[in-house]
């Protein structure tokens, strides 16, 4: 039938040949099917658990909910550090196909700086859970938010998220007291508990915000969600709510703080007010301050250099880190040191000429009053702030008794319980000078220290703390900002001196010194007699700190000096003197005469004791029932 059939064909043989081949093939098929079944058995039975875990890891994601940060209140319950929702542009990098494209498209809608992109890219590469969103730009303006919302649907993985962020409502007067939070940077990440800061953007960077970070931060919540491969959340499997941070109440009185800040006027300076009953800080002013919100938002390079390079050093916390000669405010303490060392007495009379000399042909240490004060006693040396009295007293004592006695008050040491970065000042001693200059302590060095000049450097916090101890008649209390955490009184660590009694040979000397300081105001010769006429008694002491030394025959002539060389004007005081409610230290840098800080202190006393605040501070007042 078939064309081209040439030979006889054995059809039977050919059929069985193919049939044999089909059997071979069937066996081959069975073997390969067995291989497949073996493979399935391996995957589905032997390795089942491994792949089950893997599938769960695929589908289940932990989404972190950062805790809301604890609020910071003033002593009356006014919120000084608040949380406000801000809108941030966030990206889930896993859901973005082409980041470069996205960057280009976003640029058409809102401004995103190279810095922000760099920061974003860094976070993207750092340790992180996949499918967690990363903030590209926080603090979107309302306008940017609105613009983005329109276009948002276009971009996979791009979202606008609302987050609670720190807000400081009362501006620059409070920045140095409360501190601020800032963005967590790569360096912070190395030190932080990654679990606890998962999803958090901010960290306390200074002040109360930094010291109480542990309490303020809280604990993040987690929600275990089932997500699709593209990162869409399908359902919540498990959830643990975040634990919000604890609230901190400070001793700070917001009204007093703001008032003190304003009273400094255009001067740079510091005011510290303390509650002698508790050691709590009522006002902690360093002027100028700055708007802490800038740091929350992420301060621009321009703003930052403006702050950093301002000659008034707004970023410098003078109250905590400033070092000043205590000047004549040291005299009450020096006098007590003399009494304690039996080198002076309340009754002994001293002739105060216009200057003091260690040797008849030596250097003349001048009194501030040309011609001197004539015959005076210890009390008058306080009232009139007689320099020569303290020159001779310090000379007689030498540095060691001075050092040891002043150290009791916290000079030369860090005192505050709850702020980092305090400057310890300098309470000089023999050993210190030897170590520092390789020179012995000279009697002339003591003479200078006698009036709070020379090598001695005190911080506003130290002087305020010492003043409080004086107000308390020797009951020394460590200064502190925080009062309660979550409504419970703060338990201070045991390795810190929280309070102590400074004992004098004669305890009555405390009261006599307070009386002398009262006369600084009430006496007609008193250096702060301008503060007379209050319904309560003020005890105080003025001081004028030399910014540079006058030569022997030079006169201090304010008009001829550049302002930055003007003397610092200081005042310490407390009131009511019998049972003080408030102790104040104030310094006007280059303020010239001590009348400025004295007037300021009186206004603070009026305000704090009598409630006499100008009306404009009413917004900082919290009514009792709040």
């Amino acid at each position: 039938m078939d064309a081209g059939q040439k030979y006889f064909r054995n059809y039977k043989l050919e059929q069985s040949l193919t049939q044999r081949r089909i059997v071979f093939a069937a066996i081959f098929v069975l073997i390969l099917i067995a291989v497949l079944i073996g493979r399935l058995f391996y995957l589905q039975v032997i390795e089942f658990e491994r792949y089950q875990t893997k599938a769960d890891q695929n589908r289940l994601k932990l989404v972190t909910e950062p805790p809301s940060r604890g609020l910071i209140y003033d002593r009356h319950g006014l919120v000084l550090a608040d949380n406000r929702p801000i809108h941030s542009l966030t990206i889930v990098p896993e859901r973005v196909d082409d980041m470069a494209d996205l960057r280009g498209e976003l640029a058409d809608v809102i401004d995103i700086s190279d810095e922000e992109w760099d920061d974003f890219n860094q976070r993207r590469k750092a340790y992180r859970r996949p499918y967690q969103s990363i903030t590209l730009k926080s603090h979107l303006s309302d306008k940017a938010w609105a613009k983005l919302s329109v276009d948002l649907y276009k971009w996979e993985g791009v979202q606008v998220e609302a987050q609670l962020t720190r807000y400081y409502p009362y501006g620059e007067a409070f920045a140095h007291a409360i501190g601020y939070v800032g963005r967590i940077n790569t360096k912070d990440l190395e030190k932080l508990d990654k679990q606890r800061y998962q999803g958090s953007l901010f960290l306390g960077k200074s002040g109360i915000e930094k010291f109480y970070e542990e309490e303020l931060h809280g604990y993040p919540g987690f929600s275990k969600v089932e997500v699709s491969a593209r990162g869409r959340i399908m359902s919540e499997v498990e959830r643990q709510n975040p634990v919000p941070g604890k609230a901190i109440q400070l001793h700070l009185d917001a009204r007093l703080q703001q008032y003190a800040y304003d009273l400094l006027g255009d001067y740079t300076g510091t005011v510290i007010a303390m509650d002698p009953k508790t050691g709590g800080i009522l006002a902690f002013v360093s002027k100028p301050g700055f708007d802490a919100n800038l740091f929350v938002r992420g301060i621009s390079v321009k703003d930052y250099s403006a702050l950093r390079d301002s000659p008034k050093l707004p970023l410098f916390n003078r109250a905590l880190r400033g070092g000043y000669p205590p000047a004549s405010t040291i005299k009450p303490f020096m006098a007590l040191a003399g009494l304690e060392n039996k080198l002076s007495s309340w009754t002994e009379r001293y002739y105060a000429s216009g200057s003091y000399q260690i040797n008849p042909d030596g250097r003349r240490y001048r009194d501030w009053k040309k011609g001197g004060h004539g015959w005076i006693n210890l009390e008058h040396s306080i009232i009139e702030s007689v320099d020569t009295y303290y020159y001779q007293l310090a000379h007689k004592m030498g540095i060691t008794p001075i050092h040891d006695f002043l150290a009791e008050f916290g000079f030369g040491e860090k005192n505050i319980l709850d702020l980092y970065g305090e400057n310890g000042g300098l309470l000089p001693s023999n050993q210190w000078k030897k170590a520092k200059y390789g020179e012995p302590w000279y009697p002339g060095d003591s003479v200078n220290v006698g009036i709070g000049q020379g090598f001695m450097v005190a911080t506003p916090l130290q002087i305020a703390t010492a003043t409080t101890a004086l107000a308390n008649r020797g009951q020394w209390l460590a200064p502190r900002m925080g009062k309660t955490v979550s409504g419970e009184l703060i338990d201070w660590p045991e390795n810190r001196v929280i309070s102590k009694k400074i004992d004098l040979r004669r305890e009555s000397d405390w009261q006599r010194m307070v009386n002398a300081m009262k006369k600084v105001i009430t006496d007609d010769q008193g250096t702060a007699r301008r503060l007379q006429g209050t319904s309560y008694d003020i005890a105080g002491k003025t001081g004028t700190g030399q910014v540079f030394s006058l030569q022997d025959d030079e006169e201090y002539e304010a008009d001829k000096l550049a302002k930055k060389l003007h003397d610092h004007a200081l005042f310490i005081g407390f009131a009511p003197s019998k049972k003080p409610d408030i102790a104040v230290f104030a310094i006007f840098e280059n303020g010239g005469t001590s009348s400025k800080p004295a007037d300021l202190s009186k206004k603070l006393f009026d305000a704090y004791i009598l409630g006499k605040y100008p009306r404009k501070y009413n917004h900082l007042k919290v009514s009792a029932d709040e």
């Binding site: 059939q5 059929q15 040949l17 193919t18 390969l32 079944i37 792949y51 599938a55």
Partner: protein
């Protein structure tokens, strides 16, 4: 009258009207069970896209129609047509090289204006064994060296043309369909042994002359898991899907890998991973049983076919069908490199369903057009 169920079924399947309709009951029943099950899996794999299942059902109906149509065509007629079909499809393949359209960098389709596009390489899967079977139908078996050489050229030229599109999966299947016919024709064992031995040697020599980047590409092809976010992603996710299904599976529509879109190509090439995840090893064995029944029937038809042409054609079509299954499951379960081969009759997709169903039509034709035995 009291016959058991099995005996009743056998009588039913051997009934004369099936033969008159040129339908093999055993085959068509197995195919219907398999494709029905396939639709159920597709519903899950497509993300519960009823429209997709509907389109697939339409395609399957067309497939069954082409099956039943081809079953009516006598094998004799097919045999005469074979060389023409071969040349025709080959010219279409050459046309694809020049005028083809495609996606993702591969040029596989021919566009017929107003009708749509189709893939000539799919047709070659059927036409190739027809051509080889035709070539041997009037020659002595086992084949001589000369004839083997001719067949090898017949096979290799279209294979290379398809590989150039590039479509590795299809060219492989076209190649094996021709080689299977050659094997069934009685290709000498020494040739088979020789090829088996020389393949590694040739591979080794080729490896020596390759550039480093080429070696790298071969290595990622052979071990995709070395590139977990690129070509390895699919295979890692499919193994996870299969493994996590365990013995019993996670339940219909409850496979997390598939439903949450971790598994790529879940409705096409990787559909068995969905089955394995949701129905476990149990489901996989059921599917393999279904395939095995079809293959067994196909080989049976081949073994008892009337002439050489029918035997070689039926055998190689059945074995090619098996290669589909083996390559697909092997690839999805990670024992074979990833080549784009769908799971026959289950994966969502156009031309292959029609051509595969057409091959079963040919098998039915071969089985039902036999002259009555003497």
């Amino acid at each position: 009258m009291n016959k058991g169920f099995y005996a009743q079924l056998r009588d039913f399947s051997n009934a004369k009207f099936w033969r008159d309709l040129h339908i093999d009951f055993f085959l068509i029943a197995s195919l219907m069970l398999l494709t029905g099950g396939g639709l159920i899996i597709l519903y899950s794999a497509s993300g519960q896209d009823a429209a997709m299942v509907e389109r697939q059902a339409v395609r399957l109906s067309l497939g069954f129609a082409s099956c039943l149509f081809l079953a009516q065509v006598p094998p004799k007629f097919l045999r005469r047509l074979s060389p023409l079909l071969y040349l025709g499809v080959f010219s279409l393949l050459v046309m694809v090289l020049f005028f083809g359209v495609g996606a993702k960098g591969a040029q596989r389709w021919l566009e017929i204006p107003g009708v749509g596009r189709f893939q000539p390489s799919e047709l070659m899967k059927v036409v190739m064994p027809m051509a080889v079977a035709w070539y041997f139908s009037n020659r002595h078996l086992p084949p001589k060296f000369k004839h083997i050489s001719v067949v090898l050229i017949m096979v290799m030229v279209p294979v290379l043309v398809i590989a150039k599109q590039p479509d590795l999966g299809t060219s492989l299947l076209v190649g094996v369909s021709g080689i299977f016919a050659l094997f069934l024709a009685g290709l000498g064992w020494r040739y088979i042994l020789g090829a088996a031995l020389s393949a590694p040697a040739a591979g080794f020599l080729l490896w020596q002359v390759m550039h480093t980047y080429q070696k790298q590409r071969v290595l990622t092809f052979l071990n995709p898991e070395s590139d977990p976010l690129g070509s390895g992603w699919n295979i890692i996710q499919s193994k996870t899907a299969i493994g996590s299904g365990g013995i019993e599976g996670k339940g219909f529509l409850s496979g997390t890998q598939a439903q949450l879109e971790f598994l790529p190509e879940s409705h096409t090439d990787f559909i068995i991973a969905v089955l394995a995840e949701e129905f476990g090893m149990f489901g996989c064995l059921l599917l393999l049983t279904g395939y095995l029944l079809i293959i067994a029937r196909g080989l049976y038809i081949a073994a008892f076919a009337e002439d050489n042409y029918a035997r070689l054609l039926a055998g190689s079509l059945t074995l090619t069908f098996f290669v589909y299954i083996f390559v697909n499951i092997g690839m999805v379960s990670g024992i074979l490199p990833v080549v784009g081969v769908p799971l026959p009759l289950v994966s969502y997709g156009g031309t292959s369903i029609i051509t595969i169903m057409a091959t079963f039509g040919i098998l039915m034709s071969i089985h039902t057009h036999k002259r009555a035995r003497k």
